[in-house]
Subunit: 218 residues, 2 copies
């Protein structure tokens, strides 16, 4: 552990705990006092390092959510690169689902991540532009470009966007509604159930209800 000075460590602790709490309860649902209790530091530390509560909130997005998002996108590219062949729609969807469901994050991080994202996307707040510009926009453009390369037929831009949003909708749904999914299927989100989910997302993305045909890849 590096600990050149203690500053960074306290600051990091505040950021980590703030993220987790904001994700669970939203901006107004969390008090600064809760955060500093979790981070085991003094009340004034928040104002010292971040100025005020709102700025701490924004910093959570800048310093945690956005970098993590980028690392998930990296992972997506890496997965796709490893795949043979990597130039089918199935490969793109598989890499995407894998990166976002199993990706480089711990389960706690993933929970945080989606909660913060979803909160901000539905009720555009101050972090919305940040997330939109640095997360959604690049992801959609990347996916759009890649899919266009591997889909043989002509496809109009709007339709492509709706397709991509449908796949993302599923991925978000299965990450975000865990309690519901768990209650319906009886499965906890362990490694084997996640594989099952990824398989399902690929299958459904390619063939939907697959009226008349079935049974796919890996």
């Amino acid at each position: 552990m590096k600990q050149k000075n203690k500053d960074a460590i306290v600051k990091e602790r505040i950021l980590n705990n703030a993220e987790s709490l904001f994700a669970q309860k939203g901006f107004r649902g969390v008090t600064v006092r809760e955060i500093i209790n979790a981070a085991n530091c003094n009340l004034s530390a928040v104002n010292y390092y971040f100025g005020n509560k709102k700025n701490l909130y924004l910093e959570v997005f800048r310093a945690r959510l956005i970098p993590r998002s980028q690392s998930m996108c990296e992972r997506f590219k890496k997965f796709l690169g490893q795949r043979q062949p990597s130039d089918s729609p199935a490969a793109v969807v598989e890499a995407l689902a894998q990166a976002f469901l199993e990706g480089p994050l711990s389960d706690d991080e993933r929970r945080c991540h989606y909660q913060l994202m979803v909160r901000e996307m539905s009720q555009p707040g101050e972090a919305f532009d940040l997330v939109f510009e640095h997360v959604m926009q690049p992801l959609l453009q990347d996916l759009s470009r890649r899919l266009r390369l591997v889909i043989t037929e002509e496809i109009e831009e709007e339709r492509l966007i709706l397709n991509i949003e449908s796949i993302l909708g599923m991925i978000i749904h299965f990450n975000y509604f865990r309690s519901v999914i768990t209650r319906f299927t009886g499965h906890a989100y362990d490694s084997s159930f996640k594989k099952r989910l990824i398989e399902h997302i690929i299958d459904f993305s390619l063939y939907g209800l697959g009226v008349g045909k079935k049974e796919v890849l890996t």
Copy 2:
């Protein structure tokens, strides 16, 4: 307008405004003062009619969200009954998408509805059980039963659940992430764009990316 006594009216006004505000900002994000300002009534009215803030919150679910959910399900059944033929997967998905995207609600009501639902589903709170039992559970069972009737092949229960959740995921996504979808497609959620979305949901639910084939029903 019926107004036998003023009680009901004040109570209704509080409920309506509370719902809208809770949907936008969550339980802790809203103050009772905000609500009574919007409802144009006195501070104590909330305690008089509902006891306390938390109970008002729960009452919003009991008296507004759940009945509305049921009316959307009614609408779904009605749509399905009108359809000829009504015994294909396409008909079921179409009726579902139509009920949930265009259904019997105003756009404001729909926004409220999904925001409250999603909030409660991700972070199981006190209203979770209410919503799960009266909304999610019956809907899933109904859909499961109906789809099983119209899907010709054998399909295991778990796979059916995942399929249904995928479709619901899309519907929720397109309702809930409006700001994002609007920014990407350039379309506001007017009647013609909603029709486009419904068409897309049917198409994608049946054929996914439709690798190799395309072009569907109504």
